[in-house]
Symmetry: C2
Subunit: 415 residues, 2 copies
């Protein structure tokens, strides 16, 4: 899909290896028997120790890897060198979950010659099945041996579950006169809903940024990107975004909210926003990316809440699948959003590569050509533009249509 360019960045290749000093590898180790031998485990390793920050699922049920990663980052005071991640098993709701997650850190640390607490661990897949550790034990050596500065794709495919495409984005930007790079990989297709919306995301940068500023930028950006994404309203147990910064661009370390911080934050936004769009477009069973932009709000939370409410409505999502300009369902979802505004000032238009059409003014329907609307909605990226006439602030939320294939994929996921 075409990337959106908000801050006029240069997009580059390389995903999680785009930044200097980051190697990656991925392979099939057989977490679950799979005749296609699709990659199911990966390593990402920095040549230098990194400042690291992460945000985690807000589900009370937290995958064991989430708990272990959190403890590791606390122990190191926000430092990390490597990521080990697997798909096909979430290692969640198992009595031995933490033990296995620590074991994965230990195995990676041994083979890389680093400390176990310098490893970020993540798992994604079925909940509540015991993670077989033998495949991981067998895999760490070949994984370490095959680490390379171009291993990003092998790693990105290893974290896919029901994803149909791998998700990688990277950009270049400048901080204190030095060219920096920031890139990442993501996985996610179902069980995606704020907060945290994303399942697994790993972002690397060679920009020098303090752990504190890293965490600040991540929290700021996640609020308006991943947390504005919903595929199906289910908040996963294993969601995590982490950012690792190894400083190899040799810029002056960013330790305050200055111009360099803004450049870094904008690069992070560009990558995470585009990753969000990729996740939405590849939502389970999806045929269409839906982007709902709410403008005219008097505060950001209102704009986000209303945009999310539209994106989450199953009835609206079905209408989009059918390319049906059923704007009443949009207004209905706007109406039940938990926010204060005057419904009688709400305007709605629909847009795509094929054009834009107004469908609702001041909270009531207006005449429009159903034929033109159908043409607009037959595209695979649809904009829903809602103005609530209350102020100057806007926000976007991302989602996808609800289709037969969503039901098919999830009616029998485990087998």
């Amino acid at each position: 899909m075409e990337l959106k360019n908000t801050y006029n960045h240069k997009f580059i290749d390389g995903g999680v290896c785009a930044a200097r000093g980051f190697k990656a590898s991925g392979m099939y180790c057989g977490i679950k028997e799979n005749p296609t031998k699709k990659n199911d485990i990966c390593l990402v390793v920095s040549d230098k120790i990194c400042n690291a920050a992460a945000v985690y699922t807000q589900n009370k049920v937290k995958g064991a890897p989430i708990l272990v990663t959190k403890k590791n980052l606390e122990k190191t005071g926000g430092k990390a060198i490597a990521v080990i991640a697997n798909s096909k098993n979430a290692n969640t709701c198992n009595a031995d979950g933490e033990e296995k997650a620590y074991r994965m850190c230990g195995l990676a640390a041994d083979v890389l010659g680093i400390k176990p607490e310098e490893v970020i661990v993540a798992s994604t897949g079925v909940i509540g099945q015991i993670l077989p550790i033998e495949p991981v034990e067998r895999a760490v050596k070949p994984l370490a041996d095959s680490l390379s500065y171009t291993g990003n794709e092998a790693a990105a495919t290893a974290i896919m579950t029901t994803d149909t495409v791998k998700k990688e984005v990277a950009v270049e930007f400048t901080a204190s006169g030095k060219t920096c790079r920031l890139g990442g990989m993501a996985k996610g297709s179902g069980m995606i809903h704020p907060n945290m919306a994303t399942t697994l995301n790993f972002i690397t940068t060679d920009c020098a940024v303090s752990t504190e500023m890293l965490q600040k930028a991540l929290s700021e950006v996640v609020k308006i990107t991943y947390n504005c994404l919903s595929v199906d309203g289910d908040t996963s147990t294993n969601d995590m975004v982490c950012v690792m910064a190894n400083g190899m661009a040799e810029n002056a370390e960013i330790i305050a909210e200055n111009e360099d911080y803004t450049a870094f934050r904008n690069a992070l936004y560009e990558v995470m926003m585009n990753m969000t769009r990729m996740l939405a477009k590849d939502g389970e069973g999806a045929t269409k990316l839906l982007e709902c932009t709410v403008s005219g709000a008097d505060n950001l939370d209102t704009a986000i809440t209303v945009a999310k409410s539209v994106i989450c409505s199953p009835l609206f999502k079905c209408a989009m699948f059918g390319s049906d300009a059923n704007w009443g369902r949009i207004l209905c979802a706007v109406g039940y959003a938990d926010a204060e505004f005057d419904i009688n000032k709400v305007n709605v238009s629909l847009s795509s590569a094929a054009g834009t059409i107004d469908v609702c003014k001041n909270g009531a329907g207006i005449d429009f050509s159903e034929e033109i609307a159908k043409t607009i909605l037959s595209e695979d990226e649809i904009g829903i533009n809602v103005s609530i006439g209350n102020g100057e602030i806007s926000a976007t939320a991302w989602g996808c249509d609800l289709t037969y294939d969503y039901v098919k994929i999830n009616g029998d996921y485990r087998s």
Copy 2:
């Protein structure tokens, strides 16, 4: 479907005409051209003026009939004589919506010889299309002429939209030594979600109850019945439940929370709880009724919140469609419910007419027979029993599975 009998009531026939002194009628008037000439408008009329109470959708977008009914009941101080309701058009988000809703009240009042404000008006169907008033004008006379004490079925079919079956329940109970009757009709299939969960519900009783006690009982019962129902997470713009009590059973009027109040409230619960189950089972595209009971809570709101969270999870709903005992998705939904409890004390079992099976203890998976689980989940009424080990309070929420047919029905609803 089989009715549940919580308070050992005698179920009776007659729906909205089960109580003495209530007539009803229904017919096809052509709100929307329809070759099958399915009923689309109905009247319910009491021989005596009634005390009346209602609860309405919490959506900011409120159908014009909702606004008009509310004003009418305010004007009369909670008195009503008749209901006029149509399907095929929600009369919502139209510039002339209130005018048309008032006109419907006026038309009904004229033909019945009562005041317009003594009429409760309701509409259900597509949002944002102008309501044609001519079919209503033509219909009121034949509707009034065909009113009868056995017209309940004609009325119940007239409010159906995508419903596949009409929904009627009625019971007998005793207040101050007199036999009373309470019954109702409901419609609803999609766009059903707390609060208010129900689209349209009309309940009649010959019990003498003050308007104040009527409203109190209705609010109490709606919280644990309709507001614990979700088909698809979409809160409709036109939801309304109203209760009309004409006092023709000649019991001493219930004006306080005494024994008679309890008898009345329990009858109301029996009817509304069974109507809720009918609505869930007939959810758009549904093949299964899902009843999630959360026990061991330390307060009612927690029990309700957790039960609703499970019932609303699209992933869980898809798993139930596939008869897949994917309990991880249940625990995941329990985990993201906005309530305080210890996830490590959560137990889950699944039950149906074919038996019961434990699938999760203390927040972790346990060994169970997938074969037995599949047999249990292949029934069409499934119980999901979640104990959160925190107290003595329990609550139930109702929903249905998410199927291909939900997508089919809603992918092209308007045409």
